[in-house]
């Protein structure tokens, strides 16, 4: 069966040698027909040592078992919202994360060699950066062509001479690896700027280890947690002044970035705050987090922004994502940025041919982990060589040029190849040629069987000042597995899948998990004062939109249910719906009669292109929730995702839904989900300022929505008013209370009392105002921002409205004048519809106004040199 001495590691688990494996099973079957160059099977189609323990257990699984578990895992991915954003995909921007259930198994010796090579490479890049941003000996002594640095847009002259925190430029380093025929790994690409993927690797691990719990445990798989613990230690240690509890933040480009999910997940896992550029400000050379409670000093920034986006003042001027003055704060030594600004300059394949030489010069070592054979075309002899065998090359840009894809020359026809040749000859230094590697294959679970697919592996390293190697490599990685027949440009964006990577060990492994942190050096206090203003803003609007959606769904459901009753109450309810939408919602002409009612309600639910419809409001719920993904529990996020899913489906079948039953069922589900959302908020959100702002949003919206509804339906008396009253009670979820109090007789005054002034009805306007008043009393003080007294003005506003309502006699409100109008009600509703938004504005302006966009002056000052200065002409 197994042949000893396969090129990889020895068997590591004596309890599970391959000899005990069943004679058949998916892995055995796979190995038997394995392609010649495979991770799992060797050239004799025997299972490699590292895989044997896993293979034995995997093959012992009941045939349907994996399929069944995999189905569960897919739900887990969906429910956790694990996703990535596909660029250029406007509609369904967020895609579920593609994960395959099969791990990629790496043996201990293989990993040890790899680890030594990766740490050396990380040290090398750090040393190159120190030289480029320092003495530039590499350029002066011609170890590196000057053009590769001086013409690289990522060489940030503004960073020259800036001492990086902790004496290091590179803190997080990722490398994309492929396996060569010899069995050794080699590097296809280096990531030195703001590498992504470690969070996805972690998420993959969490899911796959649940999917295959016994296999995971018994194969002695190295845990990932120690790596992330090291990352926390590394980041905390970068704090400019030794602090017990430095504030570390993850600076994200925001929810539209491809890997936003990962950033939010990673921030949560590391226990650091996820922030965007707009959350930070530079004051007197220090970086601060803008929170409801004022400014809080930030010590360390783990950035996921590219270099040039980090500071619109000194770097890329059109960046709206960065923090103006950040570079100066770094220069002052008041904040540490990891990776240091400017590290993108070495993230180019053009460097690869020079690394062995540079390694000798800077580290006095031989390069242990080579890159794939690479040529930089900027040297005439090299160009000639590349052109001579262009057909076998992969051409990449030497410098970042937008989103340029590698060009696989074997896929080009003669004309395209000729064109490429001309481009290379015109500007040779812009291009890099790489040898096409034949990638190894690894098993992918597809359609109930294992299929060989090409493999690319992303590995991660973090700096570790305490270790001799200088860096620590994640025992694992993000396996990227090509789709069927995919030979070129293997990436998740292009349809590849990801797989967990298991580094198996000979003996027991550490079972540390960061999910329950024992030693948490950078754990932040999440008290209210920490809440970034931008987050409070999004929570507030989440409350408002969710409540608005709830009100609309309830009105629409009642309207649909009452359609058989005739024109009323449908027409009144549509008027109320229109009022909720505020914007130009589909109009309804009462004269056209009942058949139109259903169509109009349908449009107000489904028409996602019209602002203010239910579909549009739910999209807003999703948008603001997504912007604070890291603040929401996974249960809450599940509800948000489910709401989004309902409307996505709804949009597609909207045209087909012609039955009231179908629409009612959808609305029932939406209402249940929205109730679930508010239940989760009430039950599981800690009562900090975040919850307070969310609840204020809900309260304010509920009061406003009711006022708009009453304004639209009861300000004029109606012949069939009892129908309207009944449906209003239903829509406001107050019908049972009413019936208990008044049995079945419907009076406008009694309905108004219950909906407006009854302090015990949690749906009444008075109830909402009371809650707002309580919140206002507990808002953080805004001393020193020119906003003194705002807290009390918000409280006063709510108080004034509350006392007006409390003083109101509902019988007078219900009185009808000769024109069939209710003047008192008109006045009161007008006051609410005017004053509630004013209250919201006061709140927004004083607490949430930090969302103001920073703007660039440069475009203007650039025109200052545009007058013609001439030597001998005077002014006239």
């Amino acid at each position: 069966m197994s042949t000893p001495g396969t090129s990889l590691s020895a068997p590591h688990d004596p309890d599970a040698p391959a000899t005990h494996a069943p004679a058949t099973g998916p892995v055995k079957a796979y190995a038997a027909r394995a392609t010649p160059f495979d991770e799992l099977a060797d050239e004799n189609q025997e299972i490699r040592a590292a895989w044997r323990a896993f293979a034995a257990r995997f093959d012992a699984l009941a045939p349907d078992e994996l399929g069944r578990r995999w189905e569960q895992a897919r739900h887990l991915i969906h429910d956790n919202g694990v996703s990535f954003n596909a660029y250029g995909d406007a509609k369904g921007m967020e895609r579920p994360w593609p994960l395959g259930p099969m791990p990629i198994v790496v043996g201990p010796d293989d990993f040890a060699r790899l680890s030594a090579g990766l740490t050396q490479r990380a040290r090398l890049f750090d040393a190159i950066l120190a030289d480029i941003y320092g003495p530039q000996r590499l350029l002066d002594e011609d170890h590196l062509p000057a053009e590769l640095v001086l013409a690289h847009p990522g060489f940030l002259r503004a960073c020259r001479g800036v001492k990086p925190a902790g004496g290091r430029f590179l803190h997080i380093y990722a490398a994309d690896l492929v396996r060569q025929r010899s069995g050794a790994w080699c590097v296809l690409a280096d990531r030195t700027q703001a590498p992504s993927g470690a969070g996805y690797a972690l998420e993959n691990r969490i899911i796959v280890s649940r999917l295959l719990p016994d296999e995971f445990r018994e194969c002695h798989v190295e845990r990932l947690a120690p790596y992330f613990q090291q990352q926390r230690r590394t980041l905390a240690a970068l704090a400019p002044s030794a602090k017990d509890n430095p504030r570390v933040v993850l600076l994200s480009p925001g929810p539209y970035n491809a890997t936003y999910f990962e950033q939010a997940f990673l921030a949560q896992y590391l226990g650091i705050m996820l922030v965007e550029g707009a959350d930070l400000t530079v004051r007197e050379g220090c970086v601060y987090l803008k929170t409801l409670g004022g400014l809080h000093r930030v010590d360390v920034i783990l950035r996921r922004l590219n270099d040039d986006f980090c500071d619109p003042l000194e770097l890329r001027a059109d960046s709206a994502l960065g923090v103006p003055g950040l570079l100066q704060a770094v220069r002052e030594g008041n904040v540490a940025v990891a990776n240091a600004l400017g590290t993108g300059v070495v993230q180019t394949a053009a460097l690869m041919p020079f690394l062995p030489g540079i390694c000798r010069v800077l580290l006095d070592e031989e390069l242990a982990l080579p890159g794939v054979e690479t040529w930089w075309c900027g040297q005439p002899r090299v160009l000639a060589h590349v052109l001579a065998q262009l057909g076998e090359m992969v051409i990449k840009p030497a410098f970042p040029m937008g989103r340029t894809e590698p060009i696989f020359c074997d896929a080009l026809d003669a004309a395209a190849l000729g064109e490429l040749r001309a481009k290379l000859q015109a500007n040779p230094s812009l291009y890099v040629a790489q040898h096409r590697e034949t990638l190894s294959t690894t098993p992918l679970w597809e359609a109930g069987a294992l299929q060989p697919r090409r493999l690319l592996m992303r590995t991660f390293s973090v700096s570790d000042a305490s270790s001799a190697a200088g860096y620590r490599v994640m025992p694992g990685g993000l396996g990227v597995v090509a789709a069927r027949d995919q030979r070129h440009d293997i990436s998740i964006q292009r349809g590849a899948a990801s797989q967990d990577t298991w580094v198996v060990s000979e003996g027991p492994v550490s079972t540390l998990s960061l999910l329950k942190p024992v030693d948490a050096p950078v754990e932040l206090s999440r008290g209210g004062g920490d809440l970034p203003s931008r987050v409070a803003d999004n929570l507030y609007w989440l409350g408002r939109y969710a409540e608005r959606a709830d009100a609309m769904a309830r009105l629409a459901r009642t309207a649909v249910a009452r359609l058989p009753d005739g024109l009323e109450p449908g027409a009144s309810l549509i008027a109320a719906l229109r009022a909720q939408a505020r914007a130009a919602a589909p109009a309804f002409d009462a004269a056209s009669g009942k058949p139109e009612l259903f169509g109009t309600i349908g449009a107000m639910i489904f028409d996602g292109d019209t602002p203010g419809t239910l579909a549009d409001t739910l999209r807003s719920v999703h948008r603001v929730a997504r912007a604070i993904r890291d603040r929401l529990s996974s249960d809450t996020w599940r509800v948000i995702t489910a709401l989004d899913q309902e409307m996505r489906d709804a949009e597609t079948w909207a045209a087909a839904v012609s039955t009231t039953g179908g629409v009612s069922a959808l609305l029932d589900r939406l209402i249940a989900l929205l109730a679930g959302l508010s239940g989760l908020v009430m039950d599981s959100m800690s009562r900090g300022h975040g919850w307070r702002f969310l609840d204020m949003g809900r309260r304010l919206e509920r009061a406003l929505s009711l006022a708009l509804t009453l304004d639209a339906t009861l300000t004029s008396a109606h012949p069939s008013e009892s129908l309207v009253l009944e449906s209003l009670l239903e829509a406001a979820d107050s019908a049972i209370t009413y019936r208990r109090r008044y049995l079945s007789s419907l009076h406008a005054a009694a309905v108004l009392d219950l909906l407006l002034t009854d302090p015990t009805n949690p749906r009444s306007v008075v109830f909402q105002l009371g809650a707002l008043l309580e919140h206002a009393a507990k808002l953080p003080h805004l001393a020193g921002r020119g906003n003194e007294g705002v807290e009390s003005s918000i409280a006063q506003g709510a108080d004034t409205l509350l006392s007006h309502l409390e003083e109101t006699d509902v019988r007078r409100l219900a009185e009808v004048d000769p024109d069939a109008r209710r003047p008192a009600l008109v006045t009161l509703m007008a006051e609410l519809v005017r004053e509630l938004p004013a209250l919201s504005d006061a709140l927004t302006e004083s607490y949430l106004n930090h969302a103001t966009q920073a703007r660039q002056l440069a475009r203007l000052s650039e025109s200052e040199q545009r007058r013609r200065p001439q030597l001998s002409e005077g002014a006239e």
């Binding site: 350029l139 002066d140 011609d142 000057a146 053009e147 001086l150 013409a151 847009p153 002259r157 503004a158 020259r160 001479g161 400000t281 530079v282 004051r283 007197e284 050379g285 619109p312 003042l313 000194e314 001027a317 103006p324 003055g325 100066q328 220069r331 002052e332 015109a426 500007n427 020119g786 103001t852 966009q853 920073a854 703007r855 660039q856 002056l857 440069a858 475009r859 203007l860 000052s861 650039e862 025109s863 200052e864 040199q865 545009r866 007058r867 013609r868 200065p869 001439q870 030597l871 001998s872 002409e873 005077g874 002014a875």
Partner: protein, 317 residues
């Protein structure tokens, strides 16, 4: 000759600016022909923080933070700069191909330092048009200085000074086609031409002293910011050339800063929070340093200043 320079930049915002960060390249640097006798930078409202540093090109650079709410920002730089006359251009110089090869080889500290200015930069990308245009001045074996000077003259003759034709965002190739532009464009064009041939060239930002017509009084605020370039000629150093006026800069040109192109030496760069619309006033006044110490009062300068509003900034008057 000593010049007294007063350069006022004023932003008027339609809405309050709550906080702003600026990076200024306004204090003149010292050069082999020029020294600063006295200089000051006055900023209103007063900055919460201000830091002077020397950037990677050796320019003086000022970082400023303002956290006081304001509707108008005024930056006034005053400097007394002594400029020595420049020796006439040498009659002969190395063939331009030899300069190109020497820079490529980078065998000396001087040529290695010049390499910082030979590659593409944000405003000066690789340009085939520029290369073709330049080649008729750069005939085989021609001396670098002679050829570059001839190119300056050609650009001056072939290009029309037109402040409406371009904006700062107009690419060099577009300027090459239009054959129109302002001093920035003229400088960028010649830099593109020189770099296309593998010759280092740098962008110089500064001021030009203007002389009134004979018998007329000198008017305050009529002077201007200016831009030219210099080309690298080993053993002669950097030779300045002004294609806008077809001259070799001398005592009338006051250097503030240099870099690869305009983006390295933008006089006033800033990011503001708030502000709404903004209008910009710029006034430059250069007067003889010894004779007339009385400087322009701010009000006076303003009346003469150019006016640009944010709506028209892309197509200046």
């Amino acid at each position: 000759m000593i010049h007294h320079v007063v350069h006022v930049t004023e932003y008027l915002y339609s809405e309050r600016v709550s906080t702003s960060h600026h990076n200024l390249h306004l204090l003149p640097r010292a050069t082999s022909e020029q020294s600063c006798v006295h200089e000051e930078l006055e900023i209103s409202p007063p900055p919460a923080m201000r830091r002077e540093r020397v950037d990677d090109f050796g320019n003086r650079c000022t970082y400023v933070e303002i956290h006081e709410p304001h509707n108008n920002l005024r930056v006034t730089s005053r400097a007394d700069v002594e400029v020595a006359p420049r020796a006439p251009l040498p009659a002969t110089s190395a063939p331009w191909e030899a300069v190109r090869d020497a820079v490529r080889a980078g065998a000396t500290a001087e040529t290695r330092a010049a390499r910082h200015y030979v590659f593409t930069s944000p405003h000066v990308p690789t340009s085939t048009l520029a290369r073709e245009y330049a080649l008729s001045s750069f005939t085989a074996g021609r001396g670098i200085i002679e050829a570059a000077r001839a190119l300056t003259t050609r650009i001056n003759k072939d290009f029309v000074y037109d402040s409406r034709a371009t904006t700062i965002a107009t690419p060099v190739d577009e300027v090459m086609r239009l054959r129109r532009g302002v001093c920035q464009d003229f400088a960028h064009v010649q830099i593109a031409c020189l770099r296309a041939l593998g010759l280092p060239a740098r962008y110089v930002s500064g001021y030009l002293v203007t002389r009134p017509p004979p018998g007329k009084p000198r008017l305050v605020g009529a002077d201007a910011s200016h831009a030219w370039l210099s080309v690298f000629a080993p053993s002669h150093g950097w030779i300045p050339l002004d294609p806008t006026n077809d001259i070799v800069p001398g005592e009338q040109h006051i250097t503030v800063a240099w870099g690869r192109d305009y983006s390295d030496v933008t006089p006033v760069r800033g990011v503001i929070m708030g502000g709404g619309r903004h209008d910009l006033w710029v006034s430059v006044d250069v007067s003889p340093g010894e004779a007339n110490k009385s400087e322009a009062s701010p009000g006076e300068a303003q009346t003469q200043a150019q006016f640009q509003s944010s709506d028209t900034s892309e197509t200046p008057p």
